[in-house]
């Protein structure tokens, strides 16, 4: 009964989505306030309907209702409670429902927080979001109904894939989806701007906080996913350039470009059509990413063949979104030309450079991700594009980005003198090169990659320190507290995010260059040495869990005789899925992780043990965290709220067709 209620509620949500898609749009075209006003209640009602459907599905998982196909395949009575809940989105159908839920959450957020937008503009934004939602809900209902029954019901479910039975599963997909789907708001603002022909600085100011918040979610989602892969997959790596990872990284790169290009549009009125194009592309890549991951296209192109309707629907939806928005763009964008001109040495130019490079970087990831799929789909042979390609491309592309990133805030808008910009930065430049080379020599790893990474990281961190110092210099005489208080939140956001990049580069460089690894056969009592640490294998004991059996090893780690940690890696065997799993054990430290996993048991009673030393790896995630916190600061800047209020009456009076 409850699944049927959920199904019905989902159909109701689709109807409301269509109402939201059509009525306010018509109202905006005919300038009818009453029709435009329908959008808001329709969006809010749609949210309630989807949330109710989601609740019904969760209920079926919680009560182990194995007459529901999805629960039977992805849950088990012995599954721990938390993984019964996360099992709701640990599958194709349920994750689509989560997608729809986060879209309606964003839509409701727009109706609440952007109340001061002009009516016609708001109506168009809601209309666009309604169309996206209608597309997704019909995709869910027609091809991937989560409420399909399994008759007769089975007595026991097949349990959730053990890889997904992890704390990462609780927050990673919701964060990532909030990020992916969040770009739909930026997209809707862009399409509404094209439709209304209104694309000025005020538009950019409305759009900026939404874009930034979506970017924050995406950053956090990717970081959590990477951390999850690090400890759960048991290989000690944190980024594999896997197509699934690339699918989330591409919208992030373009989203980063979009945030910066919106800044130019707001401050200078320039880059307008480029900003619109970025908003469209970022959302298109989010869609592509969702589908690549969720349709099974990536694990196998032939997943299209298992349910051809799904694949076709996916393609149709993508083609419609990209086709319609690009056509609209081609038709309306020429009207958007203009904006101020700027010189070679100007903040505008540094941001232009960064945008070009980020776009090329996105293109290179897209090429590496899609080319093998195309070849395979056309039966032209099978190839794979691995990490060496992405590394060969990314280091040279991102080096100028990082250099420009520090220069940008020192340069004035419109035009500036080379001398004025470089004067404060020359010492920073010299110091970064000296520090980079010095540290590389000190740690005894003088390669181009290490030196470059350390120089760039020093450049970012010292440059950021210098930037903060120049804020003080501008207000000589004011107290330190007064200066700090006087800095707007948006500036802190930029500063923190840039510092985050510096920290991230340190983590990626050091963990990449200085990591050590040893796979070794060990018997109880035996020791092994790695990077100055001594690992003593104490033996293996049985440690059964709720839905698995496990062999749990005890390994003592010491350094020059002083105990550091006792680690317990496990080899688990999940009963329902008949699947083995390696559970790594990590001693996390600020400057290094010591990571141990348990391999196979050999015939003579010894075990294969993997030992890893990972210097500075936590800095990778610390850097991402700082970027996300920076985004929160940037989005919370007071001027967005103030200006939204001031702008509103003027915008309403100027209502355009």
């Amino acid at each position: 009964m409850i699944p049927e209620l959920g199904h019905f509620s989902l159909i109701l949500a689709l109807v409301l989505a269509l109402v939201q898609a059509i009525v306010p749009m018509v109202g905006a075209n005919r300038n009818r306030i009453a029709l435009m006003a329908v959008g808001r209640p329709a969006a809010q009602g749609q949210f309630l309907a989807i949330a109710f459907a989601f609740g019904c599905l969760t209920w079926a998982f919680l009560t182990s209702d194995f007459s529901l196909q999805l629960a039977a395949v992805n849950s088990h009575t012995d599954t721990p409670l938390i993984y019964k809940i996360t099992g709701v989105w640990g599958n194709h159908e349920g994750s689509l429902l989560l997608w729809a839920l986060s879209l309606s959450l964003w839509t409701v957020a727009v109706t609440v927080f952007s109340r001061n937008l002009p009516d016609a503009f708001m109506a168009r934004v809601l209309g666009v979001l309604g169309w996206i939602s209608a597309g997704f809900l019909s995709f869910t209902l027609i091809t991937s109904n989560p409420f399909d029954r399994l008759l007769p019901a089975v007595a026991q479910g097949r349990d959730l894939n053990p890889l997904l039975q992890d704390a990462g599963m609780i927050i990673h997909p919701p964060l990532l989806y909030m990020g992916y789907v969040g770009f739909s708001v930026a997209f809707a603002f862009a399409i509404a701007a094209l439709l209304s022909g209104r694309m000025d600085a005020a538009w950019a100011r409305w759009s900026r906080p939404w874009t930034t918040v979506a970017w924050v979610f995406l950053t956090a989602g990717i970081a959590v996913g990477s951390g999850w892969a690090y400890y759960e997959l048991g290989w000690g790596g944190w980024w594999f350039w896997d197509p699934v990872e690339n699918a989330s990284f591409m919208p992030w790169l373009l989203g980063t470009a979009l945030i910066h290009s919106l800044a130019v549009t707001e401050k200078r009125g320039a880059f307008r059509s480029w900003t619109i194009l970025l908003a469209i592309s970022a959302f298109s890549l989010s869609l592509l990413g969702t589908f690549l991951v969720r349709s099974g296209v990536i694990t196998s192109v032939h997943a299209f063949a298992t349910d051809p309707r799904r694949g076709l629907f996916i393609l149709a939806l993508l083609v419609v979104v990209i086709g319609v928005s690009l056509t609209l763009f081609a038709w309306r964008a020429p009207k958007l030309s203009g904006g101020g001109s700027f010189g070679l040495v100007s903040r505008d130019a540094t941001l232009l450079g960064n945008n070009v490079l980020l776009a090329v970087a996105t293109g290179s990831v897209l090429l590496g991700t899609l080319y093998p799929l195309f070849l395979d789909a056309l039966n032209l042979g099978k190839i794979s594009v691995g990490p060496p390609y992405f590394e060969a491309v990314f280091v040279p592309l991102m080096t100028p980005v990082v250099v420009l990133m520090v220069l940008g805030p020192f340069v004035r808008w419109k035009g500036d003198g080379v001398g004025r910009v470089l004067r404060p930065l020359l010492p920073v430049m010299v110091a970064s090169i000296a520090i980079g080379l010095g540290v590389a020599f000190a740690v005894g790893h003088v390669t181009v990659r290490t030196v470059l990474g350390l120089v760039l990281a020093s450049w970012v961190l010292l440059g950021s320190a210098r930037l903060l110092a120049s804020r003080f210099a501008e207000r000589r005489g004011a107290s330190a507290a007064a200066v700090l208080r006087g800095i707007p939140a948006a500036w802190w956001g930029m500063w923190l995010a840039h510092v985050g990049i510096g920290i991230f580069i340190i983590g990626a460089t050091m963990a990449g260059s200085l990591n050590e690894r040893l796979d070794v056969k060990m018997q109880p009592g035996q020791t092994a040495q790695l990077a100055g640490y001594t690992f003593t294998f104490r033996g293996v004991a049985d440690a059964p869990g709720p839905n698995y059996d496990a062999a749990r090893a005890t390994i003592d780690v010491t350094r020059s005789g002083i105990p550091v940690a006792t680690l317990h890696p496990e080899k688990r065997f999940y009963v329902a899925q008949q699947m083995p799993m390696t559970e790594a054990s990590i001693d996390i430290g600020p400057f290094r992780d010591v990571y141990v996993n348990l391999g196979d048991r050999l015939d003579d009673g010894s075990w294969v043990v993997g030992l890893f030393y990972k210097p500075f790896i936590s800095w990778v995630w610390l850097g991402c965290l700082l970027m996300a916190v920076g985004g929160v600061f940037a989005a919370s800047d007071r001027r967005y709220r103030r200006l939204a209020e001031r702008e509103a009456p003027a915008g309403a009076a100027r209502r355009t067709t």
Binding site: T299, S341, L344, V360, G363, L367, Y371, K382, P400
Partner: protein, 148 residues
């Protein structure tokens, strides 16, 4: 400088940046493609020598042997028609086992032994790596053609 020539310089700069970046990407792409070959193709000498490539197929039953160090593993990968011996040092994926599909990446030694740098099995028990499936399908197709 006149505004127009300044603008021209800016556009030229952006275009140069773009062209350089694209050239870099395409060059790196060409150098780092990893091709896939079936065991039959490898046995026929169609695989490149000295360049990394991938082989997909089934891990032959009874072929897994561990060296005395416990970490070096020898096994054979087959598409049911031809068998290629593989040597690998390191931890194997959880779902790697005899009779199951696997994909290995590495280079072919002069002795016909494949030195794997990476062994991939799937994340899911029900799932056959598509490349392994492809190799077996190809071999079956070839066998049928011969039979006819």
């Amino acid at each position: 400088m006149k505004p127009r020539s300044k603008r021209l310089l800016l556009v030229a700069g952006a275009v140069a940046l773009l062209v350089g970046a694209v050239a870099l990407v395409l060059n790196a792409f060409q150098q780092n493609l990893v091709f896939f070959h079936t065991p039959t193709e490898v046995a026929e000498g169609k695989a490149p020598v000295g360049r990394a490539f991938r082989i997909g197929g089934m891990v032959e039953t009874g072929s897994i042997r561990r060296a005395a160090d416990g970490v070096t593993v020898q096994f054979a990968i087959t598409d049911t028609a031809k068998v290629i011996p593989v040597s690998y040092k390191g931890s194997l994926p959880d779902l790697f086992s005899e009779g199951k599909g696997a994909v290995v990446q590495g280079t072919l030694g002069p002795d016909g032994q494949f030195q794997a740098s990476e062994v991939l099995a799937k994340h899911d028990e029900n799932y056959m790596p598509p490349e392994a499936q492809h190799a077996v399908d190809q071999a079956k197709k070839a066998a049928q053609t011969v039979a006819q």
